[in-house]
Assembly symmetry: C2
Homo-oligomer: 338 residues x 2
């Protein structure tokens, strides 16, 4: 019987997640005698996503906490090994949330997985047509409601979600300013994602640069980061500005809460709207999102960086790079043979 | 020629506004030879409104700052003395923004004033049909969007705007919890405004009481106050909760900015919407608001406390009571004869 390598959550991190919180384990492959509706899949590629860190907390608020002793929940592309579910035939590819292990048993009541549509590159299912892309699409368009000619500022702009927000905003006729860490990421944003300006938060004064670049203020702010950079952008919002709160990567590894805007009176005087969202709220419109994203991708309008790593054993160290900014674009890991 | 008593803004307050920032002056009545469109009015009743404090700042953001040396801008009911404007005949009553003086010259380009509709009690124009009522109506209904059965929390709940928010929320079928200072105000809210629960922030632990009273969270939060009480309520918001940011009275007399929510990650995980508004944004729907408010008032559904003071000379001291909570309901001042 094949072994099932697993990275399990051993203890809940209180600050920065580290190898201390995870344990490597070799288990038996799950039983192949499946109950009604069950599917056994073999994970091929994992996507490393910042929000997974919040699922490691006991009080994970919008998603069931990962149980202690269970593999870390993660987005993946996987192949169906055996199936007792007519929707999923053996040999087909699926994408969705599984776990850090070779084999995952997916039950009817389990996390959402879906068939990879025919003709779709499995990589696309974790990048330009992945959860990150759906998040970018719904967050920007349904929550941010950008209008032609408006100024859009994006944090984590070179990242998996942010880079797509930038480009969708350009497609919608906006002026786009991206905030990212380091000259390489900024160069990619200007040269490949074709945005209008980039701010390197590691070497520049974000507040001062925003004032220069947006003298009339920011109309839509898409935030993946939180912290003082978020506060700097909110200070620069224009009248009737919309702040789309998508992520708080600056705080996921910090115990204690993540402070909000510095000046609530400005929120009133400028009629700002600050709104949190999670892409699953918009799932009824998923088809619309995928249709648009596919069309834009085919038209060459969605540049994307894939930072592909390899080796199951390297999953934790690879994942941690999200928090030091060591990745360039969507951070994926290809599972090697056991 | 009659004298024109005035309270003018002598200097811009940096913290709590005090008599040092104001000066009493006796001027001549403005020239009665009016330019085209001008109206000379005699102020009869002034309303004391917290936001006036923000107009005293040099950087008053959503409203022209009161010029140094000019009378303090204030909502008033006034009588037309002479008019070169066909809309306003001598002897009729108007309401709108004038200034702390006996006589105000209102030009076409000046602040908004409007005729008091026939049959309307002048007091109503500053209370249940005043700017406070319009603010309550639009803020709660257009920004907060309460649904039947939802839980609504209001700060400054016994005040001019807050007390109407409470009662409109009750009319819309909501469960209403008011936060106010002192047992008298809480008693009025329970007995006269018929809300479901009141929290006395001066003697009770607001966060703990909110947890008790709203175990399933707060759906709509209408905030007039800001500060730690605002933070306590936002911490208790339910999924998809809406926070209507109307005022920040706790901060108007404090130099420096007014901090926002404690935990922005909760804003995301709970999909909260935090939105600033100013009632003038909704003025195209003013008629709808006044029709509904009048009907509710006639049906006895809008209890209102009027705290009527007297004497032009007492304007500053009366106004300052807003910030110590010395008023009970809408704070008005009747102008005596010079």
């Amino acid at each position: 019987m094949p072994i099932n390598r697993q990275w399990i959550l051993k203890s809940r991190p209180s600050g920065m997640v580290s190898t201390d919180n995870l344990a490597y384990r070799e288990s038996d492959m799950p039983n192949t005698e499946l109950n009604d509706g069950e599917v056994l899949v073999r994970n091929k590629i994992f996507a490393c996503m910042p929000a997974m860190r919040t699922w490691m907390n006991a009080d994970s608020e919008y998603f069931p906490p990962i149980p202690l002793g269970a593999p870390v929940t993660a987005p993946a592309v996987a192949e169906v090994v055996t199936s007792n579910n007519p929707r999923f035939k053996a040999g087909t590819l699926v994408s969705g949330l599984t776990g850090w292990e070779d084999y995952s048993l997916v039950s009817k009541n389990n996390f959402f997985i879906s068939l990879l549509p025919e003709g779709i590159d499995p990589l696309d299912a974790l990048t330009i047509l992945g959860g990150n892309a759906i998040t970018a699409y719904f967050g920007l368009l349904k929550v941010g409601e950008p209008k032609d000619g408006e100024t859009v500022v994006v944090t984590g702009a070179a990242g998996s979600t942010g880079s797509l927000v930038c480009q969708i905003a350009k497609i919608k006729g906006c002026r786009v300013i991206g905030i990212a860490g380091g000259p390489e990421k900024c160069k990619w944003l200007l040269d490949e994602a074709n945005i209008d300006a980039a701010i390197d938060y590691k070497s520049e004064d974000v507040a001062a640069r925003l004032k220069e670049l947006c003298p009339k203020g920011v109309d839509v702010f898409f935030d993946n980061v939180g912290g003082t950079i978020m506060q700097d952008v909110i200070d620069q919002m224009a009248m009737y500005g919309r702040c789309v709160m998508c992520g708080q990567i600056a705080h996921y590894n910090t115990p204690g809460p993540a402070p909000g805007p510095r000046d609530m009176f400005r929120v009133i005087s400028h009629r700002l709207r600050i709104q949190g969202f999670i892409s699953s709220d918009f799932m009824k419109d998923r088809k619309e999102a995928l249709t648009d994203l596919s069309a834009w991708a085919r038209a060459g309008k969605l540049a994307h960086q894939v930072d592909m790593r390899e080796g199951f054993k390297n999953l934790p160290e690879t994942y941690f790079e999200l928090f030091s900014g060591g990745n360039n674009g969507t951070l994926l890991l290809k599972v090697d043979e056991a």
